[in-house]
Subunit: 200 residues, 2 copies
DNA sequence: CCCACCGCCATACCGGTGGTATGTTCGTGC
DNA sequence: GCACGAACATACCACCGGTATGGCGGTGGG
């Protein structure tokens, strides 16, 4: 039986996560103090340290929050009923779009590797967006749509390219134009790899 | 006339930069205190704040240090007398190799965008490695070696891919194998783009 | 040759921040 | 309705980035 206290507890925890996502997005990890986080969530540090072991843990909760959001949308597309190639293209568009979200951009892509440490970040990414991209690439290969390539390193290359490109889009004054240019270049590259597979 | 005092001053400044490069590489920006930096350089905070405006400025000096090193090596290759295509390939190898340097890896690629802010980092990168890569790509296009593509976004894609791939290499237990795999994938991609240009 | 000057650096101190230890309240189960 | 403990609040500490002030010694003018 879920008690009333459980509701309260989860509510304050959620408030802390929401608050930290907001502040980490705006001012970054180093630029936001725990006092600001707790103030915005209308609690004190006591509450924060009851739910989390420290500042890093708060950040990781914020990280999980934004990653889960993106993963949910991506998963829906990549497990759809369309043919693999169309699924991959749709997933590509969706991921680029997700990267434009300032929260995902800054927390998950920019600061997480520094705050959490690269190894831990990589481990986490395997369960989120990167894992899905890697799986999508594997599906394309299994379906014979593209040449067989080392999946691990290739998806790493693709992921890195997309992330930095998306950052470029997010900071450009004309997001639409830059976004279309990037999508165009990536699709052209993919199409070449695809036709190469068709030739074989 | 260069005075004796100028020598002393430059020496302590250099000691501070060397010390900070070392510590930032090992423990990261947030993980190293100014006291540690000054202690290793055998000076006090007074000296540090005489030469730099603050911790950020120290970091940027360390950033310039490692970037200049890489830029020097890259420039020598890219301005060589070989044909454009060979120059580009050699530059590619050289850049991947540079990314394996822990100092360049962590300071210039991982932490700089967070510490300096993305906009400032991007601006600086235009004068360093990224600028050279962009120029190399432009040279290839001018020489008709590859298809005409939007240079800015394409080099951004390439740069992002190489950086994340290099990080992967650096952290893998078998650097040689992973490195060769990545180089292989990139070269195959480039070759396709090249042959495409030859067809046209 | 000497002295006043100032660059170069050391010392002392402050505000803020992450983290901890202890106190307090209130829902819950007996 | 009462004791118990989870869920917080409060008070405090250590450390770090930054600043203000003091002093030493190389340097250049006379």
């Amino acid at each position: 039986m879920r008690s009333r206290r459980d509701d309260y507890s989860e509510s304050t925890r959620a408030a802390l996560v929401t608050s930290s996502v907001r502040l980490f997005t705006e001012r970054g990890y180093a630029g936001t103090s725990l006092d600001e986080i707790t103030k915005r969530a209308r609690v004190t540090k006591g509450a924060l340290y009851h739910h989390f072991s420290g500042k890093q843990a708060v950040f990781e909760a914020a990280f999980d929050e934004v990653e889960a959001e993106v993963k949910g949308r991506l998963e829906k597309i990549l497990t759809g009923s369309q043919p693999p190639w169309e699924r991959a293209l749709a997933g590509l568009r969706e991921f680029i779009g997700s990267c434009l979200d300032p929260a995902y951009q800054r927390i998950a892509l920019q600061e997480a590797p520094v705050v959490m440490g690269w190894a831990r970040w990589r481990e986490a990414e395997d369960r989120y967006s990167f894992g899905l991209i890697k799986q999508a690439l594997q599906d394309l290969i299994d379906a014979g749509e593209v040449l067989a390539v080392p999946v691990e390193v290739t998806s790493r290359l693709l992921f890195g390219a997309l992330c930095s490109a998306a950052t470029e889009i997010a900071h450009s004054t004309d997001q639409r134009t830059v976004g279309e240019e990037i999508e165009d270049v990536v699709v052209r590259l993919l199409n070449q790899v695809r036709s190469q597979a068709a030739d074989a």
